[in-house]
């Protein structure tokens, strides 16, 4: 089974680098992500390794890294299923500083937990770190961050922070 043309059936935008074992498939709109994931699952990618976001000034790229335990020649592949999503512009421009969610609103993306149950904890972490709301996730709660970090999306590049004075200074 040649992985390249299998992926081409799903989406045209593909990046493959055999030597560095790097496989990437980009899905443009979030509406098509669901059946892309389904066809990947039938192809043999049966579990999600990691779900994360990559924060750009204008868009957030949501990446599901999927791999396979059961299909023999897919075992060596970590496919990056990426979905770039435009950031909605912030509601109140005049807010000066701080990490208010109204200034940096979250993006919404369909959740793939129904297809890959192993994505549940990963998606919760991507939600609290990047502000990616996964619709359809059965239990989208905060996983690791304490209350005072709610809705501050700390892993985004525009997260403001003060450098704390270290005690043993």
């Amino acid at each position: 089974m040649n992985i390249k043309d299998e992926l081409l059936k799903i989406s045209s935008n593909i990046v493959i680098d055999e030597k560095k074992a790097y496989y990437k498939i980009v899905i443009e709109e979030s509406a098509k992500i669901f059946d892309a994931a389904n066809s990947l699952k039938n192809l043999g990618f049966d579990h999600v390794v990691s779900v994360t976001g990559v924060d750009y000034p204008d868009k957030v790229e949501v990446i599901w890294h999927v791999s396979s335990y059961s299909v023999e020649d897919l075992k060596g592949i970590n496919l990056a299923l990426t979905l770039p999503v435009k950031k909605p512009e912030s509601v109140n421009q005049n807010e000066t500083q701080g990490n208010l969610a109204s200034k940096r609103p979250p993006v919404t993306v369909p959740s793939l937990v129904k297809i890959w149950p192993s994505a549940s904890f990963n998606e919760r972490e991507a939600f609290e770190m990047f502000g990616i709301l996964f619709e359809g996730h059965p239990d989208l709660r905060y996983l690791m961050l304490p209350e005072d970090f709610y809705e501050t999306w700390p892993m985004r590049k525009d997260f403001t922070y003060q450098r704390a004075k270290v005690f043993i200074e």
Binding site: S50, T52, P154
Partner: protein, 403 residues
Amino acid sequence: MSEKIFNIDDLQNINVEGEKYIILQIGPSHPGSGHMRIKVWLDGDIIVKVDPDIGFVHRTSEWLSERREWIKAIPIVERIMLPDTVHANLAYVLTVEKLLSIEPPPRAQYLRSLVAEINRITSHLYGIGIFGIFLGSSTVYMWAFGDREPFIDLMEMLTGARITTSYIIPGGVRWDMPNGFKERAETVLQYMERRLKDYEDIWVKNPVVQARTINVGVLKKEDAISLGVVGPNLRASGVYYDTRKHQPYAAYPNLDFEIPTMKNGDSYDRLLIRVEEIKQSIRMIRQILKDLPEGKIVADQIYNQLNPVMKKNYEEKKRVMFPAFMIHMRPPPGEATAKVEAGRGEIFFYIKSTGDKYPYRFRWVTPSFRNLPFFTHVAVGHRLADLPTIYGSIDYFPPEADR
């Protein structure tokens, strides 16, 4: 005997405490839970629902590494995977080498596999020790932690530090194997093989241990695949998958070793498989010591940048010093992913670099984070006393899961 009494889906709405259920917070500072809180809904002695609340030791390793030079991520990444530091170090360095497209020489590859296998044994012994004290057997706890010492002495002899070795750098390793290491390693391996027989009687074949672990926490093969669990817990459910075989790195392509897999996927299989993997690691270390190739221990791109003082040091004391390149490393723009089979499971790295001094996106997933579904899906329907058994059998380590 403790088959699934409850179906997880229709239990999502239980969150009120009444006469029927007790909500037990096995809290962040509890002898049976490490640094995480496990909220357990109990109906008498039967667990109805489990909600692991992690994050008490979240040390923001991703956030920190995105604001530091490339070389400074090694100590950060090591201190997250504390009992198994070499694999974290190795996984990060493999990703950076893919970005820099540097290939370490064969001797460095073999030294990397050597330190990785020694660390796998110490990580498995750590897991057996914790599993022992969770079942109540303090002897197995003391024995396992005591038997780690000879292997930690080997690491100390090779790398200069006991656990946080920072031994692997992009391009190779930092010190060569001192003379006298091979004989010392051989006696330690023979000692461990003799000790494994003692573990047979007190731990593996102990009837109370068998009573506590057989048919407890059963994870069938399809569930293991769909839940995405990793490492020995995956192979204990019968899935034939090991990153060292299917995505080979370091010296594993030319080492012959088997991947033990079990059939029924209960806690006793997870216990057996760790002892088998220690035997495989001992076998691999012997092969590495036998056919360790001669030659340089660091790639040429780095060796040529050493100044005369550093070159003299390299020739005499076989010690790799850092050229200025190490601090001002700017990998060309691009993305890379890497997987490494650590003691507890596979570590996954994804790094995106924009050619800047700091990595643009630093993402990594540790084995314990991917073993979390054991609590929510496998522990339901068992008794309260089975929760520590399942927790110990999957070798869960909270600081590693929180990252």
